[in-house]
Symmetry: C2
Subunit: 471 residues, 2 copies
């Protein structure tokens, strides 16, 4: 099923069940930015059979493109396939024509086999998307065809159509783009529940936000700024400091060149009221020690486990070894709180989630929060999108669009050339973080280039196979 | 220093430094209930030298009675002594003429050497009291002589006068008795900070309160009832159920005859939003498993360590062995929070404490919370007072009064004879809890009788030395 050595990445692999027959382009609404959707996907050099323009009756040959995790491993394990047959709706479900999808760290973990909320491959990843309701199942009363919705689901949203429980959909407010809507649910619900449920954030408190330029980091910063006189300490590489400062981070800290614990102590000797920790491992220990009395440490990930594009057993083992474990007597004597959060494990609690969503949607309507989109990528570019996130080169959310990739984009320059600087720094950071691992791998000199939406460089990708930090 | 075999308990031992010279009775305000204070203490069979009625100028021979922990061990290790010399006030301090003192579990732990916030013996215990400001040190601007105050301190309040930082005092509101005031700070601040800071209690939530008839339990129940539609599950022996139900517990559970986890699940299959755990050991594990997603476990003690009046090494070891330790990955996958609280370790945070105190004093003024006094004991009776609490025979707060013990009280009956029933049940509970320890000790047939304020039975106490459950 898996094949660690699958040769090509991001080719538009045809679903095995139907690889013989080219199918009709999914009947999508006209994309806003690309006027010629039907022909566009065909422009890809490794063109998908779905991207032909043959016309056949829809219900007979309903097809849609879907990203499929075909096995655990590198970026190439997520392949674009064409699925046949309209998903059947169960009672309470709606069929959503997907417009945009959000990328999350859990998706990266899942690709490496480090996230247990997905069924075994082959499976379509994706916890969040936005789109339009295309059909409504029985017993659905509060959604209708044509509703613009954002969707939160355990997996399965990185595809052009998805059947999901209506309770997992939320109406997109006026003025919010599909890209913003795809960037909204996971990051904002996560940040909200951490800060306001576990964290009980109140005026005059201090919050340390790791990865402050990431999707959750930006959401958390905005939410902190809805509370009076909250001081936000945010870690990010120096090149992102201007952006996160403008976004509301009071004290940006370059964790790659400075000891963030020292930096925080300089400004706030007593420590922090709340620390959001997506890192895990030894950083959780540091966070615990950096809490004030009555402080709350909220850990919500183990991104330190992600070193290189394939599962890095040493990094995983190290993370396990350093995994934070706390005795109650220590908590009692410290008057501290340690909380764990992961939205992916909260999928049975749609009522809690809906309550949070209603509040943050109100904040959106009031202009107090707004997703920041780092970059948008075609489904064909999912590998590059994942890489951008994994290498911490993003500021804000990385988005996939289901719009077909038009031929003319191949000639254009990458959208965010200036990010390459970041990447090098991030590489340096990873090196720094892993000094104690002992020997270093040879530095890659075949630096991967980025290929955002507007550019095509399939040929170069072969060179990028060896992941840069694997040990 | 200690002497595990100190012969007498509750005799009014004279402070070694001054045992030769009888001292004047401290110049207390006339007690409300006892009209003849000066002569009263002399009535004790083992009369304190302080209880003489000689008259000498106060400033020369200022003396006051103080309870002193003379070594670690049983109830007899806390002795009533007479101290000489008026405590000198540092800047920022006030001298408080103590009227009443609260007993807390930490005091019981301290007596056994299980609480590290007290200096080594000899030391005066006592974390809270009420009284009247008798003198004001330099730089004190917001307290004046005559102010009625309640006091919170790390230790040292079980005595007739105490010099404390003015910031550790809180004005007693109109209509609150000294007994209530002595019952207020530790229990209500603890309950408030657990429920509203760590717990973030909100409408419609469910709370499990262990020892719901104890001081913190009653305070927590009242505070839960200030929030709309909160369901309170409370454990207590059956004989206390009527009282705690009237006090606001929705579902009283007899933990001695039923498995409280099963009982909770029957009513609330998904578990609890908040659990207050003063028990420690294996009960903390149960609590963790009984949490809903986004649930908060707040552990604030290890009362399971207290088995018998002297340190029970097996109970301590067992508690350590079963001590709850949690990995962050478990927290993340469960979406749970584990918090530790102990007011004794929060003494550097008077600003936080004052904020909480202001809120709960407002609730008191609104009639929404009111301390329940279980019983009031003279300083001479501190051993019995401690026993009552340790054996879980109290409903509400156990209080010490500095009023001298009048002779006529010796002839009267114990105030709460009906509690003996409880005690037997509590003994049974302890037995139940320790089944897994293996062999049982012989059941004590020399059941200790209770000697509250109105009764004297010094002779019988010798028989009670062997603690009932020690193994």
């Amino acid at each position: 099923m898996s094949g660690e050595d699958a040769p090509a990445e991001q080719q538009n692999a045809v679903d095995q069940k139907q690889e013989t027959k080219p199918a009709e382009e999914p009947k999508a609404e006209p994309p806003k930015t690309e006027p010629a959707p039907a022909a566009a996907a065909a422009a890809d050099a490794t063109a998908t059979p779905a991207a032909t323009t043959e016309k056949v009756p829809e219900e007979e040959t309903f097809t849609y493109r879907a990203l499929v995790l075909t096995g655990y491993g590198g970026y190439d394990k997520v392949k674009l396939q064409v699925k046949k047959g309209k998903p059947a709706l169960k009672a309470g479900e709606v069929l959503v024509r997907v417009k945009a999808c959000g990328l999350n760290f859990a998706d990266l973990m899942a690709r490496q086999g480090l996230y247990d909320r997905l069924p075994s491959p082959p499976v379509t990843p994706g916890m969040e998307c936005s789109g339009v309701v295309e059909a409504v199942g029985e017993e659905v009363t509060d959604r209708k065809v044509g509703d613009k919705v954002m969707v939160l689901n355990r997996f399965g949203l990185w595809q052009e159509v998805a059947a999901v429980p209506a309770t997992h959909t939320f109406l997109i407010p006026e003025g919010m783009s599909f890209e913003e809507a795809a960037a909204f649910p996971v990051n904002y619900i996560t940040a909200y529940m951490m800060l306001f449920d576990f964290g009980n954030l109140r005026p005059n408190q201090s919050v340390l936000i790791h990865a402050a330029a990431g999707g959750v980091g930006i959401a958390a910063t905005q939410l902190c700024n809805t509370v009076k006189d909250v001081t936000v300490f945010g870690t990010a590489s120096a090149s992102k400091h201007e952006t996160i400062s403008q976004g509301g981070v009071t004290h940006p800290i370059d964790y790659r060149t400075k000891d963030y614990v020292e930096e925080v102590r300089k400004i706030s000797p007593k420590g922090m009221d709340i620390i959001l920790d997506p890192l895990g491992g030894s950083d959780t220990h540091k966070a615990y020690n950096l809490l004030k009395p009555m402080g709350k440490l909220i850990t919500y990930g183990t991104s330190n486990m992600l070193a290189g594009q394939k599962k890095n057993l040493l990094a995983v083992a190290k993370n396990w070894y350093h995994q934070f474990s706390i005795h109650t007597l220590s908590l009692i004597q410290g008057n501290k709180s340690v909380c764990g959060f992961h939205l992916g494990y909260l999928d049975g609690e749609m009522e809690l989630i809906s309550q949070a969503m209603n509040i943050i949607l109100d904040l959106y309507k009031q202009g107090k929060v707004k997703p920041r989109i780092d970059s948008t990528w075609h489904l064909e570019q999912v590998g590059d999108a994942m890489r951008k996130m994994q290498e911490r080169n993003n500021i804000g959310k990385v988005i996939l669009t289901t719009e077909p990739m038009p031929e003319e984009e191949k000639k254009e320059e990458p959208k965010k050339e200036d990010k390459k600087e970041d990447k090098k720094k991030d590489d340096k950071k990873k090196d720094d973080k892993k000094k104690d691992d002992g020997k270093k791998e040879e530095k890659k000199d075949d630096k991967k280039k980025e290929e955002p939406k507007k550019e095509e460089k399939k040929e170069e990708e072969k060179k990028e196979e060896p992941s840069k930090e694997e040990k």
